[in-house]
Amino acid sequence: MSTMVLKNIKKNYDGVEVLHDINVEINDGEFVVLIGESGCGKSTLLRMICGLEDISSGELLLDGVVSNEVSPQKRDMSMVFQSYALYPHMNVYDNIAYGLKIQKMPKDEMDEKVRAAAKLLNIDKYLDRLPKNLSGGQRQRVSMGRAIVREPNFFLFDEPLSNLDAKLRVVMRNEIKSLQKRLKTTTVYVTHDQIEAMTMADKVVLMDAGYAVQIGTPEELYDQPNSIFTASFLGAPNISLINGTIKLEDGIPSLYTKDKIKFPIRNISSLEDGQEVILGIRPRDFHSSSNVNDFLVQINVHEYTGAENVIYGQIGENKVNIAFSRKERFIKNEDLHVTYEVEKTHIFCAKTQKSIR
């Protein structure tokens, strides 16, 4: 068993609080992704988990035991760094073996483990090379080999794929994911890349300015964002946000924009007449329509990505981002009319920016 609980974790630098009351529960074998923009505190939190930074207040429970004061050497975690952090003077074999050497593991047992890890990661051909003679992807694998060979209780990843090119990133992403599924090691993974978060995580912790703004499965965060921040952080292209006022007609709410366009919305009983709200529509919930009475879109930018037509445009004065499959009707230089899936819309309070359900 290796579980981790963060209880009211805070971090102060010279009296300035940079992390506020972080509460996360991580179950055994879970893959948790900390995501947020740079400077949101996600790397700091990871460094506090592994003990490279002090915890200013709150508790870190590892397997139920308060471990704030346990030295990083004793936390039984291994970390993969963005810079790989290989030992430049040691060859691949020694880089992977170093942690085991420190444990004074018997030579033949160590040898077996190092070779097994290298084989698993496809670097068994390079064991006697120095890191400087390896490519970025190979270095990343060595760095992972070093992490897995010790069979730690926890894996920590600090933006491990940021230095790789786009193609290799996808390959390594899948490898990390499948490796973790096979080893079933509890993992905390830091990234700013939403695709990594959505594809890899069992649980996503979305952070903003030192707060954990929403915690949940990727599906929960995408489909039930609790705030405009979550809704617009996840998803590419961005969710369309339309400001307006609620009008109840026969008890059914709809949204009227400043330029008097009526947008139908989900029937939420708590909405009141005259309430200022923001309507959120995911780009892929729009569909092209042949009915000229549907919303007319003024196209500002059109991108054809192969699978999709992506349109950045506006309905009246309201900016919208639209993406629909190339199988749907779209003819260049002709008026585009769209509808959207009303049941999938999101409503946010204009004042608090929170979701209204």
């Binding site: 592994c50 490279l52 990083p72 050497q73 975690m77 291994s78 970390m79 760094f81 963005q82 810079s83 790989y84 952090a85 290989l86 030992y87 430049p88 003077h89 040691m90 170093y98 942690g99 420190i102 444990q103 070093r146 010790r150």
Partner: protein, 290 residues
């Protein structure tokens, strides 16, 4: 000559000129003079290898070599390791107020040798601080410190001053190079379970071996040249107990006007320096990666 080559020469000339005039020519000049009898005036008389023979039969010269060897040993095996350890302590912030200690350790390096010499003269002299402290400790009011009086130990205070004075240089070189090491790498070692000692021995030191070798070359050449400090503190005395090759050379050339003999000692110094550095490079070749 292509115009490219011309450009090279134009840019090379000033440095080359300075080098030839201030280093190569004087060495060549000394080399020639070392085979002559010359007192600075008149025509030098050819003397063959007489001066070299004299030097190798001169017990004072051999004693100065012995002192030089001690200085080299102290700089390579005391100053450099000490500089490394101190730098490591500060680099890893194992003590409080690292900036303060950084200044304190580096401070002697920026002092003029003459000032250091005068300072330690009064510390080690009879009735100086060291003698007073020993007097108090052993509670013997008529104790006389006789460290300069013995042929064997006369050099010891000077070695001590050199450690105090030059460790800071190696310290700062090591510290600067440690700060260039990847912080992630050190943290990776911490998470791998390495203790502070293991980080130093397995991670930091192997990455600084090339630096240590450069420091050793500095130390060897510096030690062979050591003159100023000794001249200020003891002038090679009492008797010849603290003579070094440079002070012997200086006395013969500048005090007794025996330029031939002085030059011979200078040439021996240069040759032994070159030989030592070649040996060091040979021994350490495998540690220096291309």
């Amino acid at each position: 000559m292509s115009s490219n080559k011309k450009t090279y020469w134009v840019f090379l000339m000033p440095a080359l000129l300075v080098y030839v005039l201030s280093i190569a020519l004087p060495i060549l000049y000394a080399f020639i003079i070392s085979f002559t009898n010359w007192n600075g005036f008149g025509t030098p008389e050819f003397a063959g290898i007489a001066h070299y023979v004299t030097a190798f039969n001169d017990p004072i010269f051999w004693f100065s070599v012995r002192n030089n060897v001690l200085i080299i040993l102290v700089s390579v095996f005391v100053q450099i390791p000490l500089g490394f350890f101190l730098a490591y302590f500060l680099y890893r912030k194992l003590i409080k107020f690292p900036a303060f200690f950084e200044s304190v350790i580096f401070f002697p390096t920026v002092l003029s040798t003459v000032i250091v010499g005068l300072l330690f003269n009064s510390i080690f002299s009879s009735s100086g601080a060291v003698e007073q402290i020993i007097k108090m400790i052993i509670n013997d009011p008529i104790f006389r410190m006789n460290i300069y009086g013995s042929k064997d130990t006369a050099i010891v205070p000077l070695l001590f001053v050199m450690i105090w004075m030059y460790t800071g240089t190696f310290f700062i070189i090591f510290l600067a190079n440690m700060q260039r090491l990847s912080n992630d790498m050190i943290e990776a070692a911490v998470l791998d379970g390495a203790t502070e000692f293991q980080i130093m021995k397995n991670i930091v030191w192997p990455n600084l071996i090339p630096i240590a070798i450069v420091c050793s070359i500095f130390a060897i050449t510096g030690s062979l040249k050591s003159f100023d400090l000794i001249w200020v503190i003891t002038e090679g005395g009492p008797s010849y107990y603290t003579e070094v090759m440079a002070s012997v050379m200086f006395k013969h050339a500048m005090v007794y006007y025996k330029y031939g003999y002085g030059s011979a000692i200078a040439i021996i110094t240069i040759v032994s320096g070159v030989l030592l550095i070649i040996t060091l490079k040979k021994l350490t070749n495998k540690y220096v990666q291309e």
